[in-house]
């Protein structure tokens, strides 16, 4: 299209003065055909054709002076062969500043403008080539990031599903454990109730006396001997020290052995009321809990601990799930091409400041003195590309 203008200029030159066509684009050329008169493009006025580009503004729309600075709101077309054509305001024609790279705007000024269009064009083309290459490279990288992103996305999705499965399993387990704990608690409660009932009658008492008697009566011959006392009874304050025969005999009421009836009235009293001796391996109170109760208590404790463990595991898994879901809810671009940014941070030094930008995360400003200021969170760094 530029050649058309050159052609017109050179070959129609016999008819049309070069100045007449100055500042016109090829698409406007049809308005400037040599005739006797010229109609302002806005149709406002007809003037003699000699008054086109004669450095006086006749048309309100400036159309009679496309090639001079005469009209206040006119525009001048730089052909810029070899580069991009464009319009400049008429006020930049012959103002001593080179605006068109083909120097066509300074045809009558002190400015010595060189035609730089070819160079500019070269540069532009080279630039465009580099740009294209950069773009290709960028697209390639992007594709790579997308692939990585998709993989990572899927991985995370799988991870999420897995976690959700674990959560479901844990849920079941949790219910089971809750049930078991509930049962153990009930058992313990019943035992306690039963004990409470037994406390008021002799049954518990007798049983207790006889059970201690049985405990001491190691050989089960129905009487406790010195040996047996020495083996099972110790001082409260020193478990290691074995009672002497005399001491053991004293506990047996001075005799060598003792039956249940006698035990109930002598040693039992000492063991339950005194604080000097006790049965070995038992707390200072020789009586202790009822073994049924102890068993029920232990069972309940066990179930509580188990439940807590399962609950903790369940909470942890749920937290992980929600974290993952939050991350997965962020817009990483249509093809997850920005997913890789999630774990990255970038630093920029501006004068005395260092800025740290972690996409989808926080932005920090740190000065040379080391003072750090948070500039907020950057949750959506994705700009349209």
């Amino acid at each position: 299209m530029f050649f058309q203008i050159i052609f017109a200029a050179v070959f129609s030159g016999g008819l049309v003065d070069a100045r007449k066509i100055r500042g016109i684009s090829s698409s406007y050329k049809r308005f400037y055909r040599e005739r006797k008169s010229f109609l302002c493009i806005d149709g406002s006025k007809i003037i003699p054709f000699e008054q086109v580009n004669d450095d006086y503004c006749d048309c309100d729309d400036g159309s009679d002076e496309p090639g001079t600075s005469a009209c206040p709101r006119g525009r001048f077309y730089c052909t810029n062969l070899g580069f991009r054509p464009h319009y400049i305001p008429s006020s930049r024609v012959n103002d001593g500043i080179c605006d068109c790279c083909d120097a066509s705007d300074e045809y009558n000024s002190h400015a010595h403008c060189q035609n730089t269009c070819w160079n500019l064009g070269q540069k532009e083309r080279a630039y465009v080539e580099v740009q294209m290459r950069t773009l290709d490279e960028g697209l390639r990288l992007k594709q790579q990031l997308i692939e990585e992103g998709v993989l990572l996305w899927r991985e995370k999705q799988a991870q999420l599903r897995e976690l959700q499965q674990v959560a479901e399993d844990l849920q079941i387990k949790l219910e089971e454990h809750r049930r078991r704990k509930h049962e153990a608690d009930q058992l313990k409660e019943q035992t306690l109730k039963a004990l409470a009932a037994g406390d008021s009658g002799l049954g518990r008492w007798n049983r207790t006396v006889s059970s201690v008697f049985q405990l001491l009566d190691s050989n089960g011959d129905g009487s406790i001997t010195v040996d047996e006392v020495q083996a099972k009874v110790s001082f409260v304050h020193d478990e290691e020290q074995i009672l002497s025969e005399e001491e053991a005999a004293a506990l047996l009421g001075g005799g060598q052995r003792m039956d249940l009836i006698k035990f109930q009235h002598t040693l039992w009293e000492v063991l339950t009321k005194g604080d000097n001796v006790k049965i070995k391996d038992t707390p200072s109170s020789p009586v202790g809990e009822d073994p049924h109760l102890q068993a029920a208590d232990k069972a309940a404790e066990w179930e509580t601990t188990n439940l807590k463990k399962v609950e903790e595991a369940y909470d942890t898994v749920n937290m992980e799930i929600s974290d993952l879901q939050k991350k997965l809810a962020i817009d990483y671009g249509t093809d997850w091409e920005f997913l890789f940014l999630n774990s990255q941070c970038y630093k920029l030094k501006v004068y005395e400041y260092t800025y740290t930008l972690c996409p989808f995360n926080q932005v920090l400003q740190k000065n040379t003195a080391g003072t750090e200021v948070s500039l907020g969170m950057q949750l959506n760094p994705i700009l349209p590309l």
Binding site: D55, P72, S91, D95, Y351, Q365, N367, V373
Partner: protein, 928 residues
Amino acid sequence: MAAFTERMAPVLLLWLAVCLSGAWAVDRGNFKTCDQSAFCKRQRALKPAESPYRALLETMELTNTKLTLQLINDNNKVRLLLELYRLQGNMTRVKINELKPLKPRYEVPDVLIREPPTEPLSLLSQDENGVVLSLGAESQRVIVSARPFRLDIMEGREVVMSLNSRGLLAFEHLRMRKDTQTEPEVEKNEEADPANQAETAKDEDKAVDGMWEETFKSHSDSKPNGPSAVSLDFSLPGVEHVYGIPEHADDLRLKTTDNGDPYRLYNLDVFQYELYNPMALYGAVPVMLAHNTHRTTGIFWLNAAETWVDISSNTAGKTVFGKMLDYVQGSSETPQTDVRWISESGIIDVFIMLGPTPTDVFAQYASLTGTQSFPPLASLGYHQCRWNYNDQEDVRSVDAGFDEHDIPYDFIWLDIEHTDGKRYFTWDPHKFATPKEMLQGLKDKKRKMVAIVDPHIKVDSNYKIHNEIRSRDFYVKNKDGGDYEGWCWPGNAGYPDFTRADMRDWWASMFAYDQYEGTMDNLHTWNDMNEPSVFNGPEVTMHKDAMHGDWEHRDVHNIYGLYVHRATAEGLIQRSGGTERPFVLTRAFFAGSQRYGAVWTGDNAAEWDHLKISIPMCLSLGLVGISFCGADVGGFFKSPGAELLVRWYQTGAYQPFFRAHAHMDTARREPWLFGPENTALIREAVRQRYTLLPYWYQLFYQAHRTGYPVMRPLWVEYPQDPATFAVDNEFLIGKDLLVHPVTEEGARGVTAFLPGKHEVWFDVHTFQKHNGAQNLYIPVTMSSIPVFQRGGSIIPRKLRVRRSSLCMEDDPYTLYVALNVQRTAEGELYIDDGHTFNYEKKEFIHRRLSFINNSLSSVNLAPDAQFTTASWIERIVILGASKPSKVIVKTTDGQESPVEFEFDASMSVLTLRKPGMNAGEDWTVTLQ
């Protein structure tokens, strides 16, 4: 933001201080009232009465050049010496000093451009009551009355002005300090040797508060010289309108001060000044004009110390009806304005300019203090400023913004942040790393830059400027003899003693391209903070007991800023080898500052009232010789809305110095940031400015030659029409353009007063004709800037508005010929290279354009001047014309050729198409 805070610590401190004070306005408590200024309080306590002063006629001596006479104060026997001069050009100078002061009193140097030439006074008569002297022409006489002493200047039987008629002449003589309170009253002795009379002084010597020490807020003034105030009253019979004594944010017409403080003249950095009050601002010009329908006079009180001016009037407060009643009943006394000047130190040295016309007074004042410097043409274009353009990239992008939006501008400005830590004459090494590159970029677009250079110098032993000043011992000294230091933008700072000629020479040499690194010829300068501003000083300025050589700061305060401005302007001239005209803007000023460049009205605010006040503030400055005046377009503090900003551009485009400026804390406001409609409105206002540059330039040439103001109050051109006397919502540019800017929010219309009974005025946009002497209601839209061209005038314009004024240099002219009722018109055209002093070597074109008898001709007003221009006449628009049958142009070579034309009958506008003559030649265009 942390480092920002660090960098801005002093500013923030100040801001904090201000914010804590709680109000968005000046903290009045920071500035003295008359009552808080000891000498003002003392002097104002004196009431009109019979003067204790008596002229000793036997001491009279009359020489060719002056009359001298001793005055004696009958209360304390101190003698004064009166000198009376008749000056060329219808002026009288009255000088009063102590006959034998204890030590010399300060007489202000460097303000008068030369010792004013005198004319002989002749003695008309003399008796024991006084003498009568002739002032030459027009039966003008001065009467010296002896007992009590007074001066009356008469013309015929009319008293033009009286001095000491109210007996308020007061002269606090210098005296030894007597710390003993119980001083025995010394016996009066008429025969005593005058030298001892100070010692014999009576009760006034007794310690009055504040005579030997004065404290204001936490600041104390040690006053080692004791009381030294001077005061004198002037009566102006027949005068009801007085003007001048800038700088005050007040109406054009000065108000009476009976019910408040006097107008104060004391250069101060007033933070967020209030409007419509007599508080002191950044500059002081002690010149007052008095006007009535038949005479204009002026009083120039040459004193650089703190000064207060009281004004009273016997008609003040009377209604128009009351005055009429007086007139009808014949019971009225003559209206009279009484003025009283009070200064803290120095002497009485007063120039009485006797007019009688306003232009005579302008010429008289110009003959004393010089005229407006002739600015480079580019400085009349538009200036884009902001605190701050951040770095070179910011400058580049703002520059590009103007091109993108097709708005012309000539100067982009850099405020204090461009320096390396507020060390003037340096550049921030990061933000402005390659200043020459930046300046060259602007130069390639034919544009320029202004960078700030303030007079406070960072005390820093790694700073060359500081080290050199210190090693040369150029700093102002504190009362104890050490270098005076105060707090300002850079933190601790010294203040060079600009009153010293050797200091000023050195300062000027610092602007040389090899000293001020990174500069080029398109970099100009801005002096701010030169009151001087001292953040931690009394009233934010320097302590009065600081020393400038032998003189106290008290004596020189108001002239300090002028000296800074002068030294800077001289520096810019010198760096070019004396060829280039400088452009320097100053905030502080004094009488004579017009010789060194432009001033602006300081730190105003983005408020409608501040837009309004810009008119009287610049008019008042123009009246006292300072024509190159402007206000920050948009307002410095706060952010303007789009409407205010547009209206401000429209107003500023028609004021002499046209610069947009903004505080650092305000939002960006480059012209294109308010939407396309407002951008277009601003573009149009700026373009109107550029089309009129030839007229502005010619008016500045005239101001430079004559001292006539560029921006004028109406009364100056219509001195006999009292309706114009108080108008300050509109103004004239030269005498031919009347501007009534829209300064009301949401305005639908304005009422403009079109002066002149026999005048006609043409709307410059529609060419509609209006008669003079009427109030004209003009409906307005956002695009309206009501401007009228006077019938009888010819105004040259350049309609091809380009990127900058320099781009328009060779462009052709369009002449707007507005015919008056006699169908005549006259104008001028001035052309030169726009930037050098070569016009002084007669390299210019100055032509008179006149239209008479249907013929428009260009005649050479300066036949001995030589200059050639490429500019030609592309169009002549004749307003109020009738249709000719034929138009012929005749050029120097005798060639005649027809000119095409168009005639718009509805508006009577005749447009001559492309007559084509060169603007520098003789030609005649005849309508047949």
